[in-house]
Amino acid sequence: MNDSSTVTRILRLTRLNQVIDFFPVLVALLLALVVASILLVALNANPFDAFSSMLQGAFGTENATAETLVKATPILFVAIGITVAFRGGMINIGGEGQMIMGAIAGTTVALIFGEGNGFITITLAMIVGFIAGALYGGLAGFLKAYFDVNEILSTIMLNQIAVQMMNFLLNGVLLDPADAGINHIPKTARIAEVAQLPRLFIPIGEPAIFERTRLHYGLLIAIVLAVIIYIFLWRTAMGYRIRAVGENERASRYAGINVKRQMIFSMLLAGGFAGLAGVVQVLGLQYRLQTDGSPIGFTGNAGFNGIVAALFGGLNPIGAIPASAFFGGLLVGAQKMQRDLGVPASLITAVNGLIVVFVVSSEIFIRRRAKRRVSVESSEDNLKKTVEVKE
């Protein structure tokens, strides 16, 4: 019995093994921070000042924390969807477009049924938004399953198409009638008050925590859905099939799983959650669908940030919750850093890219550890068998 197998045994017993699997993600973050610091120094900024300014901006005050969570909400919705997609082996970059489609559909519903029962309107809008996003994602899944179209490329194209679609509708059919004119802002009418998601606050103190902030129920819905999806992926047969296709497409096919159907299904779910992100943004925060003409005018890049958050959360919906909060903090904090130190917020986009690269690059180390674990365990079993036979 050599030393490494004893250590492995202890690690296994104390479950530290699984915790250590998160180390690469943390190391990736550390590396990204180091590179970011180097960049900051090159920009004549003090990294400590920059980071503390970001921290202040993200969590320094009650309002700041609320804004961080507000930013985190759509990111979390998208991240949940991306997690499902990635686990199913589908790389969904279409969060932006799916979010837009969901928002268009959901806002339309909310505007049409505005004056009726609020609860029904909200639920209906969310369902329709989910379906719209799901169909948009499912389209990419279908193209992959039956036409072998690389889903990264198709979803990127679909993103651009969705932006144009939104611009077209917001400047035309969906334009707020009260604002139609030459110099109008592309936005819809405001949705009725009953259709708006209520504000979310913690009922402690007077005034209650978060009561006078923009924090809304969308966050709670997202967290609940994250838990549900976790249970779905790891405790149901459907979730198992999704993960099986993601891990080993060939083996799944031999095992009788309809791979094409799973591909489309994963993308349907992923698109649906991104669509929800869009609806919830409208119902809970802006109360209308509005853009500034730029591709991220409505989404605020939540589609891309959701991908990074999903990776950073270890492709686990529960992990996506703190990861999204972290990214919300990054975005909000970066704005303060830009105000305080003049460092452009685009640094965050670059750092996001670094995080993605580092996290994905660390997979090789996890795989090597897993291989070693398997070979050590199996050699132990072989040893035991030999001993038994001899006796």
Binding site: T349, S361, I364
Partner: protein, 316 residues
Amino acid sequence: MIDQIFTASVFASAIRLATPYIFAAIGETFTQRSGVLNLGVDGIMLMGGFMGFYVVHLAEKAEVLASPIGLLLGVLVALLVGALMGLAMAFISVTLQAKQGISGIGVYLFGLGFSELLFQQLIGTPQSVEGFQRIAFPFNLNQVPVIGEIFFNHNLLVYLAFALVPIAAYVLNKTTFGLMIRAVGQNPEAADAMGINVAQVRYATVIIGGMLAGLAGASLTIAVGKVFQQNVTAGIGFIAVALVYFGGWRPYHVMMGALLFSFVNALQLQIKVIGLNVPSEFATMAPYVITIIALAFASKRQEQPTALTKPFERGE
């Protein structure tokens, strides 16, 4: 009205606009033929585009460096930046064997953010440069009606891009290096058994792809577009990757795909200019819709490198 849409200038624009696509797509063809998918092309284009632009911008402001030297420096810097990012991408994809699709997106995000960051710090507001000018052909070929405008009215980089296509085809199909690339892309195990260093070949192709992507970005900012702004590429790099699929991994077909695409682009610009009653958003949408359709019906099954996106480790 047809003659208003299909003017000579539209065809000329199509040729000119195809330049960045051709550079990037030919580079990516090399990369993918060896079995590596580099989705960070757009990010590399942005970085190469910015650095080339910045050098030319400085040179023109200083008026010290004679214009051709400034342009040459700009191109060299873009190539260097592209090579560096290609090297990083090669390390990530070949040595670390990271999942190639998503690592490319990471490189893209990095290039997007960093180029914008540098732009805001070093330049600030959108500017334009003189950049590459039209070449004056002998015998007044520029003035020849129709043909002259379409074919003889471009700058050096445009002609370079089109010249690259037969060179790429020759290298891929008629040289030993090209043979090694193709072998590594189709069957890395067999190539390895024959003594080809798979990792080395892939490093080479990814770096070549990076250099050409950097050059593509520079062609956009100092030759074809002559301006830099945030996200100046607007996804051209991704379309270039799609073009490789569409062109069946063959340089001439990739070039045809690029021409088709930029022709649609030039058309939709012309339609906007003459104010046809087509909503501008649909015109803008058209190239992306076409790309998806092209991807769906691409004749790729014959030539798709079998090992595309699959990392190779000896002894597996």
